[in-house]
Amino acid sequence: MSFKQAKWNEPLIFERSKPGKIGFTLLEPTEEEKKLAGNIIEVVPKNLLRENSPELPEVSEVEVVRHYVRLSQQNYGVDLGIYPLGSCTMKYTPKITDVIINNPKLRDLHPYQDEELTQGILQILYELSNYFAEILGMDKVSLQPAAGAHGEYTGVMIMRAYHALNGELDKRTDVIVPDSAHGTNPANTAMAGFKTVVVPSAEDGTVDLKALKAVAGEHTAGFMLTNPNTLGVFERNVMEIAEIIHDAGGLVYYDGANLNAILGKARPGDMGFDIAHINAHKTFSTPHGGGGPGAGPVGVKKELEKFLPVPTVEFDGKKYYLDYNKPYSIGKVRGFYGNIAVLVRAYAYILLMGPEGLKRVAELSVLNANYAIRKVLKAKGYMLPYKPENLRKHEGVVSAKQMMDETGVRALNVSKRLLDLGVHAPTNYFPLIVPEALMIEPTETESKETLDELINAFIKISGEAYSNPQVVLDAPVNTTVDMVDDVKASHPKTMRLSWRMLKKHGEPK
């Protein structure tokens, strides 16, 4: 396979602008409407009328289309090839889900419409929240959070409400997270007003129980864990962990970023977790859209149900309705009810897969990850820290430290060279406890043949690193642009964050 990404040298759309052009014709009001309305501009106070038009581009319809289609050609997605970005679960999205959400009965539905007119969507949301609860092993799910980190935020705010109701919020100041945790865990801990306490990982990459026992106590509000963890290692002591935290009076939170590995195989609710979120855009195959929208439903055990955000979707045996009557609810974490169009895709995905299909997802994702990692490790320079002989689940974190020490080729360079070879790179430099980390998650939707292409790319790069490292250090050369200067992008003197800043300060030099 050879790869050369499109390169159009496409200017900013502002630079295509020519005064007088327009790309869309609005429907004008009728003469009667205009006549009765009168001159509406005259009634607007002068101080509120815009004097200078906003400097938006003036371009024709076809120019808009070509500009953005060209940009799309300068972008890599799952539909072009493997995207083994660890902890991101970049699986293929069945195309039928594009088709079913393109329906005016969904798109043109207003969230405040009378429930008589929205029974269809409410039924979908009600059923979906039940499916998610079943998959998580939780009792009730809220579909409101907009993203995984937002689900976490909701979960930690539920922890806060729980301790507040028990009159212990002043005392319970700490949320414990492992050193391998996603950055969102400590960030949400802070947003919820808690202090983050970090526990180290043991030799096998799992939570060090002794260290956990040492920090758990009367100050503990809760513990956040993803299982399998970010090393791809299953936390086999999860029940003991939960017991330690519960004995201390805290709640245990499941970060659902890595749920793909255990779908239908094990459930957070059965492992002692009290709260769990789902990343619909990871596990349930909704496309990530270059950064969103996603959806981050959050599930809880029975005793925490009363804290879920309002409204929840309920069914009284005859009709579906939105229930705001929850006096202990944390309130609202966003406007309206959730990223509905994303959730309907997840609903369709679950129906397509069924219980056996979801279990198969976990099996194949784990098989693919272990196969890819084992094979990559055969090449010189790659190591698997934390007991390499142990199985990984859906992902694994390979270290290129040896390669760096011996050849000067870093994980970053390996990644850039992978791009040259037509595959997306793994996640770099995460988790922080692995030096020169390459976090590989192939997902279940890749065939053996595609995995072999990825593996061969890793092997080829190893060979290059030890024979002609400059090829790797010079990468990428087949992508739209060569290596991007991200330091310049953030430096006060060269930072250009908008067209307006670019015009004011000139091209970054």
């Binding site: 079913i100 855009h281 964050l497 067209w499």
Partner: protein
């Protein structure tokens, strides 16, 4: 593949999960269904809905019906964009990066700010983040908000600022005109004020005429001035940056995104350059490549973000509403400055037409406030001797969905609903509303 791993069966891959927590049953979910069955099942369920394409719906209040040009769908449907992740590998992701940079730039043009982020979840969370940002920068803890604020935005704000021990103070608005009472505002603003927040147009649709003076009160007290906007007004109305705003938030859904029963939405967040290091969310920057020194794009100021900064991050947001932002960029490119201005004029014309026609109906008072309204306006039924709910239910029978009943939110406004009219409401839709209301109220 199993053989290569030295394993006999798939089960061997799961030996690390202790027996006692293995799930041995079968998940109680339906399926598997074929593609054909899924398509039929979901279509059949959605068929139960009655949408704004089936009957005229006069709802707004945070999500608004607007026409989405076909070009927008064609672009955001491009698999190269839709199936990509957050652009961690910039060299292979220039398309989404440039599109997001253009979105940020257009938001800056609309709002009069220097920088905008690549999106927040929605207006409500943008507001919460803006209050937190103002508090971080001023080291003060009070935020002043208008009395007539959207209850959902207020609820989200309340949740988000409570852990930071911030206090929310409401400023009075004149019962006649809706305008913020400047004396009350001055009385409530102090050395503890981190920010003053207004919405323009307001939640109830009227414009705030003393926007500049309010900003001055904020700045005299070394507080931030945060302004919430509906971006469809900004081709016609003054940019908040031109009347002193430091941070602008708002809802970008009207820019090329369908309502979708309330999500996904598009939180707008923009500010002045000097504050960018405390800004939440992802920001795309224009830079150069290292070797060829060509223009290129990448994520900038990442040290503010959770995956590097962890508990010291400015926010926990990572997955945002990137593709909705691309839709907004495409939409704004299509309309351009003239189109956006005309859109604002059309919306004002149609809502003015509706208000004037509604005056024909006995028992109706609209709008309740003597002020200029943009897209939304209050309709009061007190004199008709019917509750807003009764009117709503009867209208539904006539095949019209009225506005949002706001009686519980603002009891002092009586039997009132908030109506919304945009460019998608045809004259016959509006006339049908008027005729139906006559029938319902005058019968």
């Amino acid at each position: 593949m199993l053989k290569e791993l030295g394993l006999k069966s798939i089960d061997d891959l799961f030996t690390d999960i202790p027996e006692k927590i293995k799930f041995k049953g079968k998940l109680n979910i339906p399926g598997p269904l074929s593609e054909l069955e899924v398509k039929r099942k979901v279509a059949k369920l959605l068929e139960k809905n009655v949408s704004s394409m089936d009957v005229p719906v006069f709802l707004g209040a945070g999500v608004w019906p607007h026409y989405v040009p076909a070009v927008v769908d064609a672009i955001v449907g491009r698999a190269e964009l839709a199936t990509s992740y957050t652009p961690y590998q910039a060299e292979v992701s220039q398309g989404i990066l440039q599109a997001q940079f253009e979105y940020q730039s257009m938001i800056c043009e609309l709002t009069g700010m220097d920088v905008a982020n690549a999106s927040m979840y929605d207006w409500a969370t943008s507001l919460g983040e803006a209050a937190l940002m103002a508090s971080r920068l001023t080291k003060k803890t009070e935020v002043i908000i208008p009395h007539f604020i959207h209850p959902e935005r207020k609820a989200v704000l309340k949740l988000m600022v409570e852990p930071a021990k911030m206090k929310i103070i409401e400023v009075n608005q004149d019962r006649e005109t809706g305008q913020i009472n400047l004396e009350d505002l001055k009385g409530k603003t102090s050395k503890n004020t981190a920010a003053i927040y207004i919405e323009n147009p307001s939640y109830l649709g009227f414009l705030e005429e003393k926007a500049k003076e309010i900003g001055e009160i904020a700045h005299e007290n070394e507080a931030f001035y945060i302004v919430g906007v509906d971006p469809t007004s900004l081709g016609l109305l003054k940019a908040p940056g031109d009347y002193g705003a430091d941070i602008v938030v708002g809802e970008g859904q009207p820019l090329g995104n369908s309502m979708n029963y309330g999500g996904p939405l598009l939180g707008i967040f923009a500010c002045k350059e000097e504050f960018v290091r405390q800004m939440p969310g992802r920001i795309i920057g224009l830079t150069t490549t290292k070797k060829q020194n060509q223009r290129a794009f990448c994520m900038a100021l990442q040290t503010r973000e959770q995956y590097i900064r962890r508990e010291k991050a400015t926010s926990s947001i990572c997955t945002n509403e990137a593709l909705c932002a691309v839709a907004a960029a495409v939409y704004l490119s299509l309309l351009g400055p003239k189109g956006l201005k005309r859109l604002g004029e059309i919306i004002m014309t149609k809502s003015a037409y509706t208000m004037k026609r509604l005056k024909e109906v006995s028992g109706i008072k609209t709008p309740l406030f003597k002020a200029v309204h943009f897209k939304e306006f209050t309709v009061n039924f007190d004199e008709a001797g019917k509750t807003a709910l009764e009117v709503h239910k009867k209208l539904l029978k006539e095949g019209v969905h009225g506005g949002k009943i706001i009686k519980e939110e603002f009891p002092e406004l009586g039997e009132t609903a908030l109506y919304c009219v945009t460019e998608v409401h045809l004259k016959e839709d509006i006339d049908k509303l008027v005729d139906s209301l006559k029938k319902v109220l005058e019968a």
